[in-house]
Symmetry: C2
Subunit: 273 residues, 2 copies
């Protein structure tokens, strides 16, 4: 397919990519405006719905999308904008909350493994096993040695999933500290969104630099060929949505999905009255 002049380019994060080097306000080379992006996103939504239908029918590939971000980074917005229009039967969203006491009595990958996609499924993780090397690390509930061990365990776990047919795409929605302030303020002032305001978010905001460092370390150590991290400039919601949708659709296209071959001679099947 020829690249349109409105092509968007999303580089995979590598071991040497720094979060700081990515401009949260970037438009990723997109030449159009917000309205033009919306037109493209609508087309990508329709294509994703069609690709998902084939993925489900083929019953071969498994797709896992991981969303991580600072508070107000836009995880919920991505789910609503990028995955709306898809058959709800083919997309499962798993929101990982603070672990329960039963979950804490197991290894940190236990509850995650239980939720990974089966053949034909798309599963979206709203937060994930990465919290176990993020919030835990920022608050020093685990030391660096434990964090390093967990990142190694994550790589082995994701490698196994990939070997067994899972396509893994991980997105860090990258907003600036100023943008978070604007979003927290706007949440407070909107009666349909004020319920999302959590006073604890203000406490977490004080650890901004420690979170950025923990994200940097996690992304550097766990962005692999089979489970790449994308650092998504997310101050502009329309860039964020278009970028993520583009990556997912291009990946699904590359799987060369196809409807299963029907058994031969289906046209000879007799259906009784």
């Amino acid at each position: 397919m020829a690249k349109s002049k409105n092509a968007i380019t999303m580089p995979v994060a590598t071991r040497t990519t720094t979060i700081k080097s990515i401009d949260c306000n970037s438009t990723l080379g997109f030449k159009g405006d917000k309205a033009a992006a919306q037109v493209l996103l609508t087309a990508l939504n329709a294509e994703m719905a069609e690709l998902q239908n084939t993925l489900y029918a083929e019953h071969k590939h498994k797709v896992l999308v991981v969303l991580q971000a600072m508070d107000t980074g836009g995880k919920d917005g991505v789910i609503r904008k990028v995955f709306s229009g898809i058959n709800p039967q083919g997309v499962k969203v798993i929101s990982f909350k603070a672990p329960t006491s039963v979950e804490l009595d197991h290894d940190f990958l236990w509850r995650v493994h239980a939720a990974v996609p089966a053949k034909g499924d798309i599963v979206v993780f709203n937060r994930s096993h990465y919290e176990d090397v993020l919030i835990t690390r920022v608050h020093k509930w685990i030391d660096d040695k434990t964090a390093a061990k967990r990142m190694r365990q994550i790589n082995n776990f994701e490698s196994m999933l990939a070997e067994e047919g899972t396509t893994i795409l991980k997105f860090f929605l990258h907003i600036s500290k100023d943008e978070q302030k604007i979003r927290l303020r706007s949440r407070l002032d909107d009666p349909t969104r004020a319920w999302k305001f959590n006073p604890l978010d203000l406490e977490e905001r004080k650890y901004w630099d420690a979170y950025q460092a923990a994200f940097q370390d996690a992304i550097s150590h766990t962005s692999t060929a089979h489970a790449p991290w994308y650092i998504v400039p997310a101050n502009r919601k329309w860039v964020r949505d278009l970028a993520i949708s583009t990556v997912i659709v291009e990946k699904l296209r590359s799987l060369k999905l196809k409807y299963p071959e029907p058994a031969e001679h289906l046209d000879a099947v007799e259906i009784e009255d």
Copy 2:
């Protein structure tokens, strides 16, 4: 709200309602055509998306939608048409397959209970615990006494769910035997849908009358005020989708959902730079 001239009326099944008395081709008094129905459905989709958002925010009510039908009855189609456009985070679709050996080692409600909606959730059952008084009964894997016991157990179970805040809506998608033949044929002839064809469907079709009798008995004994059955004329897909969407949206409206009150003085909250 004033009834529009295009109002559709979906009566709840009662103990004396017979499936046979419902015309599979009915338009339920709808005066418009398919295109007019599509306009209404699109508006209902948007309203359902908004209501779901409030349901999720309020975090109080639980909503369970049960879909049952003969093969090709349109369960997958309903999920795609009625629930598309809703935030995928707020709707979970659970497809119950033939039970595993572990599931069979438990009571028949065990796997079902594990999947019911939590506060703020909409869960759609694509097949359900009703299979345990349908296919099982048609093939005489259980006797009438066991079926009667299970229906009593289902009523007690659903009553408990309702008492604990679950709104339950059950839909039987009612197609005619002729319509099923047309749909099986069309599935065979369409390369994008031939994969859905299962030769066993032709075997099950031979038990049509026994299935209708089992559905009749199940609906008669389990349509209650807190968990009503709706018998949906489903030969016309647009009538089916419009009818189900109407019932769900009217029910959600009746819950008087509202966004939680924000804590007072949110406007006085200071956000540090």
